[in-house]
């Protein structure tokens, strides 16, 4: 019985020690440290923002350029492809213009005629 009472007493004493728990005093340079930290974070953020802006402008521009180049090369490809394969006459006509051949050379049958 005495032991039980002693335990209960100790439990109560322990529970009452909430109020006696040590309290920390804040560092006198707490705000100075905090201010420096915020300023550092702010300058870092601004640098990141600069990169973000560059990324935001450069990335779409680069993408547009790549798309434009692709469209341009695709149109060129299909343009010549259709001209090539319509018929033999048209191909020779096109080559004649491109190479600026004279009439005899331009005439596809000039060798046969001779």
């Amino acid at each position: 019985m005495i032991r039980k009472e002693k335990i209960e007493q100790e439990v109560q004493k322990t529970l009452q020690s909430f109020k006696q728990a040590e309290r920390l005093k804040s560092n006198p340079f707490f705000y100075t440290r905090l201010k420096n930290r915020i300023e550092n974070l702010h300058s870092k953020k601004q640098k990141i923002r600069g990169w973000e802006f560059a990324g935001r402008v450069l990335k779409p521009a680069l993408l547009l350029l790549i798309i434009a180049l692709n469209i341009f090369s695709a149109t060129l490809f299909f343009k010549y492809k259709t001209q090539d394969y319509i018929n033999r006459e048209q191909l020779l006509d096109f080559l004649g213009h491109e190479l600026t051949l004279d009439y005899n050379q331009y005439n596809p049958n000039f060798l046969i005629n001779e």
């Binding site: 322990t14 529970l15 040590e22 920390l24 974070l41």
Partner: protein, 185 residues
């Protein structure tokens, strides 16, 4: 713009000075280390500074600050536990962590009675055994003296839930302490 920033920083300084000690002690109650508590308190005010514009004003500003303090402290404890678990797994796998953490309880007041210090230590250990929400409620109520209404706002629960948490926490603490003294007295 400069004027606004100046005003903001001026009022921010006042805000920090008003709450820094309570924020520091709230963090300390959870992390039990002065340096970690100071770092966490700094983190709390950095977050307050960065998100002050998004503060909706539903609750008091002080409540919001303590809410951040509690959340940051709990995150810190969870991370620490995860690290401990990982270190344990590494040690099982044969990788030993050379750098051991020094765990000394440095009392703020050296004149505090040794017996009392021991009781506080036992109490802290018993609180650590409680479930997280009970631990938060009892720490805020008993160590930091927050009212039940304030705890309700900080924890984002109802008054009846806080009452119940505190009741269960006290009962559990009593039980744990009784079991402890039964073995050690």
């Amino acid at each position: 713009m400069e004027k606004i920033r100046f005003d903001k920083s001026n009022s921010f300084e006042e805000l920090v000075k008003l709450h820094q000690e309570k924020v520091l002690n709230t963090c300390f109650r959870f992390v039990k280390n002065k340096e970690d508590a100071e770092d966490l308190a700094q983190d709390v005010f950095v977050e307050v500074y960065n998100h002050i514009n998004s503060f909706r004003g539903d609750a008091k500003l002080s409540t919001w600050i303590y809410q951040i303090s509690v959340n940051k402290s709990l995150d810190f404890i969870r991370k620490k536990k995860r690290k401990k678990r990982f270190a344990f797994v590494l040690s099982l796998a044969g990788f030993r962590d050379e750098e051991k953490e020094l765990q000394l309880s440095t009392p703020a007041n050296p004149h505090t009675d040794l017996e009392q210090k021991e009781r506080i230590h036992i109490l802290n250990q018993a609180i650590n055994l409680l479930p997280e929400n009970q631990k938060v409620a009892i720490t805020l109520s008993k160590f930091e003296g927050f009212s039940n209404k304030e705890i309700t706002e900080i924890m984002g629960t109802s008054v009846s839930a806080v009452d119940s948490l505190l009741h269960r926490a006290k009962n559990k603490l009593q039980k744990k302490l009784y079991q402890f003294y039964e073995k050690h007295l």
